[in-house]
Amino acid sequence: MTEAPTPISPDAQPRLPRGVRLVHNEAQGGWVLLAPERVFKADAIAAEVVKRCTGEATFAAIVDDLAATFSAPRERIVADVTAMLRMLADKKLLEL
């Protein structure tokens, strides 16, 4: 499989770029990430992560918040969230 994603600095302040937004839509059955000419269905976990990418919260703070909210080990959250945010950034759906 693919190699581990490049780590994200604890001080990074991830945010959605202009033209990308997370919306909840009843008719489409949940959370969707709207981007230039693309629509991505977001599951509940992805939505919880993306909602926190405000451009103000740091990566460290986002991880702390998620670890507390979901009572999950911090290292596991760091790995999962790093992979998700790197994937979104590669698709130009997130700025790190």
Binding site: G19, N25, V39, A89, K91
Partner: protein, 361 residues
């Protein structure tokens, strides 16, 4: 036979063809050869109603297109009404006839994204393909203004024989223009492109080289620009799932208000299209004869009906099936399983050095 795919879904996207008027004459234009006239165009308030109904139906994104959408004097009001309805708004423009002050007003109205077409990687060839002198320079200037406004930008390049060898330069140009996304869209042979097919068709060697080149460009520019490709389907083995399946994910409203499952659907005879002038959008989506004609799989004939790919590509494109076989229920002849596949193979090697028949009103 199963009825897989027949479950009524909600559309995600609406292509709003605000007008068929356009200063450019691109020989691959997706508009129909019989263009709709200005006096038949929907008014501002009707578009606003369409957008409200679209949002209620589940549509998330509206693509404000044409022709050149800026040919409408009320484009700002139309865009504002789409934003107010809660839709993600995408302007699909040639950049010609779009002054900087208009793009500023659209940004203020809430426009989410801009797509600008380019015809080739350098001016003389680009302007020749578009049939419009000075177009290339205007595109670069508008792109700069879009970037200055921090609006996200996509560059769309329709690919055909005259520019297929410039794909690397086209992607480089998109990067230079500040785009985060570029569409390498091989010409699809409907509308004006069908008329110009032999003048546009790339050779097989060109298509094969391009496929490898796009992969190489994706690797080289990974994380800097997203490269989306529309495949050259005459050279493919299986058909595209056109518009994600008939009446499944998107709809198209013409300048005069007819609602189509795709922009070429009117080329299929005997389909009954309903208009937003007479019906609410949800009613059209759910009940209009044209939308139900090829929904799901029940309409299929062999080899589609028993094919394991029937809910992957939905038999391919109905308009292409009709254009090539005069039978809209036939398997898209692009499919290697189609009894008519030899037609496509023959057309894919038909390259004629003729002048373009430019798109004109």
């Amino acid at each position: 036979m199963g009825e897989e795919g027949a479950t009524l879904t909600r559309p995600l996207g609406l292509l709003a063809e605000l007008t068929h008027r356009c200063p450019l004459g691109c020989p691959y234009c997706s508009n129909p050869q019989a263009l709709e006239r200005r006096e038949d165009e929907l008014d501002t308030e009707t578009w606003a109603r369409v957008f409200r109904e679209a949002a209620a139906l589940g549509v998330l994104q509206v693509h404000l297109s044409g022709g050149e959408p800026a040919a409408r004097r009320d484009l700002v009001a139309i865009t504002a009404s789409a934003c107010k309805a809660g839709l993600y708004t995408n302007l699909i423009t040639s950049a010609v006839g779009v002054p900087d002050r208009l793009i500023n007003a659209l940004a203020d109205a809430g426009l989410d994204h801009v797509q600008i077409s380019i015809q080739d990687s350098e001016a003389a060839s680009a302007d020749h393909i578009a049939g419009y002198a000075g177009g290339f320079a205007r595109k670069r200037a508008l792109a700069a203004e879009v970037v200055r406004l921090k609006l996200p930008l996509t560059i769309n390049a329709v690919i055909h024989r005259a520019n297929i060898d410039h794909i690397g330069a086209l992607v480089a140009l998109a990067l230079e223009m500040g785009a985060a996304r570029v569409e390498i869209a091989h010409a699809q042979y409907y509308g004006w492109a069908l008329r110009n097919r032999a003048a546009l068709m790339p050779t097989r060697d060109q298509v094969m080289r391009t496929a490898a080149e796009v992969e190489e460009l994706r690797t080289r520019h990974h994380g800097r620009i997203v490269i989306d490709a529309v495949v050259p389907d005459y050279h493919a083995r299986f058909p595209k799932p056109c518009v994600g399946g008939w009446g499944r994910r998107s709809l198209n409203v013409t300048p005069s208000g007819k609602v189509l499952p795709c922009h070429a659907a009117e080329t299929i005879p005997d389909l009954e299209f309903w208009s937003v002038r007479d019906h609410a959008l949800t009613e059209i989506w759910e009940q209009s004869p044209a939308f139900n004609a090829f929904r799901g799989t029940a309409w299929m004939r062999e080899p589609c009906a028993s094919c394991e790919r029937r809910t992957v590509d939905f038999g391919g494109c109905r308009c292409q099936a009709y254009a090539l076989t005069h039978n809209a229920r036939a398997t898209d002849p692009v499919c290697q399983l189609s009894p008519d596949h030899a037609l496509v193979e023959a057309l894919a090697v038909t390259q004629t050095e003729v002048s373009y028949c430019y798109r004109r009103m």
